[in-house]
Symmetry: C2
Subunit: 199 residues, 2 copies
Protein backbone atom coordinates (compact mmCIF):
# COMPACT_ATOMS: atom_id res chain seq x y z
CA UNK A 1 0.00 0.00 0.00
CA UNK A 2 1.23 3.45 -0.91
CA UNK A 3 1.01 6.47 1.27
CA UNK A 4 1.72 4.94 4.67
CA UNK A 5 4.11 6.93 6.79
CA UNK A 6 7.34 5.22 7.68
CA UNK A 7 6.68 4.77 11.39
CA UNK A 8 3.19 3.54 10.62
CA UNK A 9 4.23 1.04 7.93
CA UNK A 10 6.52 -0.66 10.46
CA UNK A 11 3.58 -1.51 12.70
CA UNK A 12 0.46 -1.62 10.58
CA UNK A 13 -0.44 -3.68 7.53
CA UNK A 14 -3.95 -2.93 6.29
CA UNK A 15 -5.58 -5.86 4.51
CA UNK A 16 -7.50 -3.77 1.98
CA UNK A 17 -6.69 -0.83 -0.25
CA UNK A 18 -8.13 1.98 1.87
CA UNK A 19 -7.35 5.67 2.19
CA UNK A 20 -3.98 5.84 3.95
CA UNK A 21 -5.37 8.63 6.11
CA UNK A 22 -7.15 6.06 8.29
CA UNK A 23 -3.96 4.12 8.92
CA UNK A 24 -1.66 7.12 9.26
CA UNK A 25 -3.84 8.48 12.06
CA UNK A 26 -2.51 7.23 15.35
CA UNK A 27 -2.31 8.54 18.91
CA UNK A 28 1.19 9.70 19.82
CA UNK A 29 1.96 11.11 23.22
CA UNK A 30 5.08 13.04 22.23
CA UNK A 31 4.12 16.65 21.51
CA UNK A 32 6.48 19.60 21.18
CA UNK A 33 4.87 22.09 23.52
CA UNK A 34 4.57 24.48 20.59
CA UNK A 35 1.60 26.76 20.17
CA UNK A 36 -0.93 26.26 17.40
CA UNK A 37 -2.73 29.12 15.80
CA UNK A 38 -6.34 29.25 14.72
CA UNK A 39 -5.49 28.58 11.10
CA UNK A 40 -4.05 25.24 12.21
CA UNK A 41 -6.77 24.01 14.53
CA UNK A 42 -10.00 25.52 13.18
CA UNK A 43 -10.12 23.12 10.21
CA UNK A 44 -10.19 20.25 12.71
CA UNK A 45 -13.39 21.55 14.29
CA UNK A 46 -14.76 22.30 10.84
CA UNK A 47 -14.20 18.69 9.76
CA UNK A 48 -15.90 17.49 12.95
CA UNK A 49 -18.96 19.61 12.21
CA UNK A 50 -19.84 17.57 9.13
CA UNK A 51 -20.21 14.25 10.91
CA UNK A 52 -23.59 12.53 10.67
CA UNK A 53 -25.95 12.37 13.62
CA UNK A 54 -29.39 11.14 14.48
CA UNK A 55 -31.99 13.65 13.20
CA UNK A 56 -28.98 15.83 12.30
CA UNK A 57 -28.99 16.93 15.93
CA UNK A 58 -25.21 17.52 16.02
CA UNK A 59 -24.85 16.56 19.66
CA UNK A 60 -21.15 17.52 19.84
CA UNK A 61 -19.88 20.56 21.73
CA UNK A 62 -16.18 21.36 21.76
CA UNK A 63 -14.79 23.21 24.78
CA UNK A 64 -11.16 24.09 24.21
CA UNK A 65 -8.18 26.02 25.48
CA UNK A 66 -4.96 26.83 23.70
CA UNK A 67 -1.76 26.80 25.72
CA UNK A 68 -1.81 30.61 25.68
CA UNK A 69 -5.24 30.68 27.28
CA UNK A 70 -5.69 31.22 30.97
CA UNK A 71 -7.94 28.14 31.02
CA UNK A 72 -5.27 25.77 29.66
CA UNK A 73 -4.08 24.93 33.15
CA UNK A 74 -7.64 24.25 34.22
CA UNK A 75 -8.08 21.77 31.35
CA UNK A 76 -4.72 20.08 32.09
CA UNK A 77 -5.62 19.80 35.77
CA UNK A 78 -8.63 17.65 34.87
CA UNK A 79 -6.36 14.91 33.51
CA UNK A 80 -5.01 12.02 35.55
CA UNK A 81 -1.31 12.42 36.21
CA UNK A 82 -0.28 9.73 33.68
CA UNK A 83 -1.96 11.76 30.93
CA UNK A 84 -1.04 15.18 32.20
CA UNK A 85 2.63 14.18 32.10
CA UNK A 86 2.64 14.28 28.30
CA UNK A 87 -0.59 16.11 27.39
CA UNK A 88 0.54 19.39 28.88
CA UNK A 89 2.78 19.64 25.80
CA UNK A 90 -0.31 19.83 23.58
CA UNK A 91 -1.03 23.04 21.70
CA UNK A 92 -4.76 22.75 22.32
CA UNK A 93 -6.76 20.73 24.84
CA UNK A 94 -10.37 19.93 24.02
CA UNK A 95 -13.07 18.64 26.32
CA UNK A 96 -15.61 16.98 24.10
CA UNK A 97 -19.16 17.07 25.41
CA UNK A 98 -22.39 15.69 23.97
CA UNK A 99 -25.98 16.81 24.34
CA UNK A 100 -28.08 13.88 25.52
CA UNK A 101 -31.40 15.07 24.12
CA UNK A 102 -32.83 16.06 20.77
CA UNK A 103 -33.28 19.76 20.07
CA UNK A 104 -36.61 19.20 18.31
CA UNK A 105 -38.48 17.37 21.06
CA UNK A 106 -36.31 17.25 24.18
CA UNK A 107 -36.35 13.46 24.22
CA UNK A 108 -33.34 11.29 25.06
CA UNK A 109 -31.07 10.75 22.06
CA UNK A 110 -29.84 7.20 22.22
CA UNK A 111 -26.86 7.82 19.96
CA UNK A 112 -25.48 11.05 21.43
CA UNK A 113 -22.14 9.46 22.41
CA UNK A 114 -21.93 7.37 19.27
CA UNK A 115 -22.58 10.34 17.00
CA UNK A 116 -20.10 12.47 18.91
CA UNK A 117 -17.51 9.75 18.38
CA UNK A 118 -18.03 10.20 14.64
CA UNK A 119 -17.30 13.92 14.99
CA UNK A 120 -14.14 13.15 16.98
CA UNK A 121 -12.93 10.86 14.22
CA UNK A 122 -13.36 13.58 11.59
CA UNK A 123 -11.34 15.90 13.82
CA UNK A 124 -8.57 13.32 14.20
CA UNK A 125 -8.41 12.55 10.49
CA UNK A 126 -8.27 16.20 9.45
CA UNK A 127 -5.49 16.70 12.02
CA UNK A 128 -3.55 13.86 10.40
CA UNK A 129 -4.02 15.51 7.03
CA UNK A 130 -2.73 18.80 8.46
CA UNK A 131 0.36 17.11 9.93
CA UNK A 132 -0.84 17.47 13.51
CA UNK A 133 -1.33 14.69 16.04
CA UNK A 134 -4.30 14.05 18.31
CA UNK A 135 -4.80 11.77 21.27
CA UNK A 136 -8.15 11.21 22.97
CA UNK A 137 -8.23 10.30 26.65
CA UNK A 138 -10.76 8.94 29.08
CA UNK A 139 -8.20 9.38 31.86
CA UNK A 140 -9.68 12.50 33.38
CA UNK A 141 -11.89 13.52 36.26
CA UNK A 142 -15.28 13.55 34.53
CA UNK A 143 -17.12 15.08 37.45
CA UNK A 144 -14.63 17.87 37.89
CA UNK A 145 -14.72 18.55 34.16
CA UNK A 146 -18.49 18.91 34.17
CA UNK A 147 -18.38 21.20 37.18
CA UNK A 148 -15.42 23.38 36.32
CA UNK A 149 -16.30 23.84 32.66
CA UNK A 150 -19.93 24.69 33.48
CA UNK A 151 -21.33 21.74 31.57
CA UNK A 152 -25.13 21.95 32.00
CA UNK A 153 -27.36 19.09 33.05
CA UNK A 154 -28.31 16.99 30.04
CA UNK A 155 -24.83 17.09 28.56
CA UNK A 156 -22.19 14.33 28.97
CA UNK A 157 -18.45 14.78 29.04
CA UNK A 158 -17.10 12.26 26.51
CA UNK A 159 -13.33 12.64 26.64
CA UNK A 160 -10.38 15.01 26.56
CA UNK A 161 -8.42 15.46 23.35
CA UNK A 162 -4.84 16.68 23.06
CA UNK A 163 -3.91 18.31 19.75
CA UNK A 164 -0.32 19.19 19.00
CA UNK A 165 2.80 19.12 16.92
CA UNK A 166 4.49 15.72 16.94
CA UNK A 167 7.79 15.51 18.83
CA UNK A 168 10.48 12.81 18.73
CA UNK A 169 9.76 9.90 21.13
CA UNK A 170 12.97 10.72 23.00
CA UNK A 171 11.18 13.68 24.56
CA UNK A 172 9.04 11.24 26.56
CA UNK A 173 9.92 9.37 29.75
CA UNK A 174 11.52 5.93 29.25
CA UNK A 175 8.26 4.24 30.19
CA UNK A 176 6.20 6.22 27.68
CA UNK A 177 8.81 5.83 24.95
CA UNK A 178 8.19 2.09 24.98
CA UNK A 179 4.52 2.67 24.15
CA UNK A 180 5.16 5.31 21.48
CA UNK A 181 4.29 3.43 18.30
CA UNK A 182 1.19 3.02 16.12
CA UNK A 183 -0.85 0.20 17.65
CA UNK A 184 -2.01 -2.79 15.62
CA UNK A 185 -5.59 -4.05 15.42
CA UNK A 186 -7.49 -7.29 15.99
CA UNK A 187 -7.83 -9.58 12.99
CA UNK A 188 -10.95 -8.89 10.95
CA UNK A 189 -12.63 -12.17 11.89
CA UNK A 190 -12.80 -11.05 15.53
CA UNK A 191 -14.90 -7.99 14.75
CA UNK A 192 -16.85 -8.95 11.63
CA UNK A 193 -19.67 -11.48 11.63
CA UNK A 194 -21.79 -12.37 8.63
CA UNK A 195 -25.34 -12.94 9.82
CA UNK A 196 -25.83 -12.88 13.58
CA UNK A 197 -23.25 -12.78 16.32
CA UNK A 198 -21.13 -15.90 16.56
CA UNK A 199 -22.31 -18.35 19.16
Amino acid sequence: MEGLREEVAEHRAPEEDIDSLFVNRWSPRAMTGESLDEAQYMPLFEAARWAPSSYNNQHWRFLYATREDEEFELFADLLIEANREWAEDAGVLVTLVSKETFDHNGEHARTHSFDTGAAWQNLALEATRQGLVTHAMQGLDYEAAAEQLNVPDGFSVECMIAIGEHAPPETLSDELQEREFPSDRKPVDEILHRGGFDD
Copy 2:
Protein backbone atom coordinates in the same frame (compact mmCIF):
# COMPACT_ATOMS: atom_id res chain seq x y z
CA MET B 1 -13.33 24.88 -2.10
CA GLU B 2 -12.43 22.32 -4.71
CA GLY B 3 -13.56 18.75 -4.74
CA LEU B 4 -17.14 19.15 -3.54
CA ARG B 5 -19.62 17.11 -5.47
CA GLU B 6 -22.27 19.05 -7.32
CA GLU B 7 -25.26 18.06 -5.20
CA VAL B 8 -23.23 18.72 -2.07
CA ALA B 9 -21.94 22.14 -3.12
CA GLU B 10 -25.54 23.30 -3.57
CA HIS B 11 -26.28 22.69 0.10
CA ARG B 12 -23.01 22.87 2.02
CA ALA B 13 -20.41 25.61 2.34
CA PRO B 14 -17.56 24.58 4.63
CA GLU B 15 -15.91 27.53 6.35
CA GLU B 16 -12.39 26.09 6.32
CA ASP B 17 -10.23 24.32 3.77
CA ILE B 18 -10.77 20.72 4.87
CA ASP B 19 -10.63 17.41 3.06
CA SER B 20 -13.66 17.37 0.77
CA LEU B 21 -14.28 13.77 1.85
CA PHE B 22 -15.88 15.01 5.08
CA VAL B 23 -18.32 17.25 3.23
CA ASN B 24 -19.03 14.87 0.37
CA ARG B 25 -20.15 12.21 2.83
CA TRP B 26 -23.87 12.49 3.38
CA SER B 27 -26.73 10.13 4.12
CA PRO B 28 -28.89 9.51 1.06
CA ARG B 29 -31.87 7.21 1.20
CA ALA B 30 -32.08 6.43 -2.51
CA MET B 31 -30.24 3.18 -3.20
CA THR B 32 -30.43 1.10 -6.34
CA GLY B 33 -31.15 -2.32 -4.91
CA GLU B 34 -27.99 -3.59 -6.59
CA SER B 35 -25.76 -6.16 -4.97
CA LEU B 36 -22.31 -5.28 -3.69
CA ASP B 37 -19.49 -7.75 -3.74
CA GLU B 38 -16.87 -8.27 -1.08
CA ALA B 39 -14.29 -6.23 -2.97
CA GLN B 40 -16.62 -3.25 -2.64
CA TYR B 41 -17.60 -3.50 1.00
CA MET B 42 -14.62 -5.10 2.73
CA PRO B 43 -12.52 -1.90 2.53
CA LEU B 44 -15.24 -0.15 4.52
CA PHE B 45 -14.83 -2.56 7.42
CA GLU B 46 -11.07 -2.35 7.04
CA ALA B 47 -11.16 1.44 7.39
CA ALA B 48 -13.38 1.09 10.46
CA ARG B 49 -10.86 -1.26 12.08
CA TRP B 50 -8.24 1.49 12.36
CA ALA B 51 -10.30 3.83 14.49
CA PRO B 52 -8.89 4.78 17.90
CA SER B 53 -10.37 3.41 21.11
CA SER B 54 -9.76 3.52 24.81
CA TYR B 55 -6.94 1.09 25.68
CA ASN B 56 -7.10 0.06 22.02
CA ASN B 57 -9.97 -2.19 23.04
CA GLN B 58 -11.69 -1.96 19.61
CA HIS B 59 -15.17 -2.26 21.03
CA TRP B 60 -16.85 -2.39 17.61
CA ARG B 61 -18.43 -5.55 16.18
CA PHE B 62 -19.99 -5.51 12.74
CA LEU B 63 -22.84 -7.95 12.07
CA TYR B 64 -23.86 -7.81 8.44
CA ALA B 65 -25.92 -9.36 5.71
CA THR B 66 -25.73 -8.80 1.98
CA ARG B 67 -28.95 -8.79 0.02
CA GLU B 68 -28.08 -12.28 -1.25
CA ASP B 69 -27.85 -13.63 2.27
CA GLU B 70 -30.69 -15.48 3.88
CA GLU B 71 -30.34 -13.15 6.88
CA PHE B 72 -30.92 -9.94 4.88
CA GLU B 73 -34.65 -10.13 5.47
CA LEU B 74 -34.04 -10.62 9.18
CA PHE B 75 -31.93 -7.45 9.29
CA ALA B 76 -34.48 -5.46 7.27
CA ASP B 77 -37.28 -6.65 9.55
CA LEU B 78 -35.56 -5.01 12.52
CA LEU B 79 -36.04 -1.55 10.99
CA ILE B 80 -39.03 0.67 11.59
CA GLU B 81 -41.23 0.87 8.51
CA ALA B 82 -40.11 4.42 7.60
CA ASN B 83 -36.54 3.15 7.29
CA ARG B 84 -37.32 -0.21 5.82
CA GLU B 85 -39.17 1.49 2.98
CA TRP B 86 -35.89 2.70 1.48
CA ALA B 87 -33.20 0.67 3.28
CA GLU B 88 -34.31 -2.60 1.77
CA ASP B 89 -32.65 -1.31 -1.41
CA ALA B 90 -29.27 -1.38 0.32
CA GLY B 91 -26.63 -3.82 -0.86
CA VAL B 92 -25.49 -4.56 2.67
CA LEU B 93 -27.16 -3.99 6.03
CA VAL B 94 -24.95 -3.77 9.10
CA THR B 95 -25.94 -3.94 12.74
CA LEU B 96 -23.20 -2.20 14.63
CA VAL B 97 -22.65 -3.49 18.15
CA SER B 98 -20.20 -2.40 20.84
CA LYS B 99 -18.62 -4.33 23.70
CA GLU B 100 -19.28 -2.48 26.93
CA THR B 101 -16.28 -3.79 28.85
CA PHE B 102 -12.52 -3.87 28.48
CA ASP B 103 -10.93 -7.11 27.34
CA HIS B 104 -7.99 -6.72 29.72
CA ASN B 105 -9.87 -6.35 33.00
CA GLY B 106 -13.59 -6.86 32.36
CA GLU B 107 -14.43 -3.42 33.70
CA HIS B 108 -16.99 -1.07 32.19
CA ALA B 109 -15.59 0.93 29.27
CA ARG B 110 -17.04 4.40 29.48
CA THR B 111 -16.35 5.22 25.85
CA HIS B 112 -17.58 2.06 24.12
CA SER B 113 -20.30 3.88 22.17
CA PHE B 114 -18.15 6.92 21.51
CA ASP B 115 -15.27 4.83 20.18
CA THR B 116 -17.62 2.75 18.05
CA GLY B 117 -18.93 5.99 16.57
CA ALA B 118 -15.39 6.73 15.42
CA ALA B 119 -15.24 3.36 13.67
CA TRP B 120 -18.58 4.07 11.97
CA GLN B 121 -17.25 7.36 10.67
CA ASN B 122 -14.23 5.67 9.09
CA LEU B 123 -16.59 3.22 7.42
CA ALA B 124 -18.75 6.04 6.07
CA LEU B 125 -15.80 8.04 4.77
CA GLU B 126 -14.20 5.09 3.01
CA ALA B 127 -17.59 4.33 1.44
CA THR B 128 -17.71 7.90 0.13
CA ARG B 129 -14.23 7.43 -1.31
CA GLN B 130 -15.38 4.22 -3.02
CA GLY B 131 -18.43 5.91 -4.53
CA LEU B 132 -20.88 4.11 -2.26
CA VAL B 133 -23.41 5.68 0.07
CA THR B 134 -24.12 4.88 3.71
CA HIS B 135 -26.91 5.84 6.05
CA ALA B 136 -26.93 5.05 9.77
CA MET B 137 -30.25 4.62 11.55
CA GLN B 138 -31.46 4.50 15.09
CA GLY B 139 -34.94 3.69 13.83
CA LEU B 140 -34.88 -0.01 14.61
CA ASP B 141 -36.12 -2.39 17.24
CA TYR B 142 -33.06 -2.54 19.49
CA GLU B 143 -34.37 -5.34 21.68
CA ALA B 144 -35.33 -7.51 18.74
CA ALA B 145 -31.92 -6.87 17.16
CA ALA B 146 -30.11 -8.02 20.29
CA GLU B 147 -32.25 -11.11 20.55
CA GLN B 148 -32.43 -12.18 16.94
CA LEU B 149 -28.77 -11.54 16.15
CA ASN B 150 -27.61 -13.39 19.29
CA VAL B 151 -25.95 -10.31 20.77
CA PRO B 152 -24.52 -11.46 24.12
CA ASP B 153 -24.97 -9.67 27.42
CA GLY B 154 -22.40 -6.93 27.80
CA PHE B 155 -22.74 -5.77 24.21
CA SER B 156 -24.89 -2.83 23.04
CA VAL B 157 -26.60 -2.46 19.71
CA GLU B 158 -25.61 1.00 18.45
CA CYS B 159 -27.37 1.41 15.12
CA MET B 160 -28.18 -0.12 11.75
CA ILE B 161 -26.23 0.98 8.69
CA ALA B 162 -27.38 0.71 5.09
CA ILE B 163 -24.63 0.55 2.46
CA GLY B 164 -25.46 0.77 -1.20
CA GLU B 165 -25.15 2.21 -4.66
CA HIS B 166 -26.69 5.66 -4.93
CA ALA B 167 -29.88 5.91 -6.98
CA PRO B 168 -31.63 8.98 -8.40
CA PRO B 169 -33.97 10.66 -5.89
CA GLU B 170 -36.89 9.96 -8.22
CA THR B 171 -36.78 6.35 -7.10
CA LEU B 172 -38.03 7.43 -3.66
CA SER B 173 -41.57 8.24 -2.57
CA ASP B 174 -42.61 11.90 -2.96
CA GLU B 175 -42.27 12.44 0.78
CA LEU B 176 -38.74 11.04 0.93
CA GLN B 177 -37.67 12.90 -2.22
CA GLU B 178 -38.22 16.17 -0.40
CA ARG B 179 -35.67 15.16 2.23
CA GLU B 180 -33.11 13.78 -0.22
CA PHE B 181 -30.37 16.41 -0.07
CA PRO B 182 -27.13 16.88 1.93
CA SER B 183 -28.10 18.51 5.24
CA ASP B 184 -26.44 21.69 6.46
CA ARG B 185 -24.87 22.15 9.90
CA LYS B 186 -25.17 24.53 12.86
CA PRO B 187 -22.91 27.57 12.79
CA VAL B 188 -19.55 26.98 14.45
CA ASP B 189 -20.29 29.29 17.38
CA GLU B 190 -23.11 27.00 18.51
CA ILE B 191 -20.81 24.02 18.99
CA LEU B 192 -17.42 25.54 19.80
CA HIS B 193 -16.65 27.25 23.09
CA ARG B 194 -13.27 28.64 24.07
CA GLY B 195 -12.75 28.00 27.77
CA GLY B 196 -15.73 26.52 29.60
CA PHE B 197 -19.26 26.07 28.41
CA ASP B 198 -21.13 29.30 27.73
CA ASP B 199 -23.37 30.39 30.54
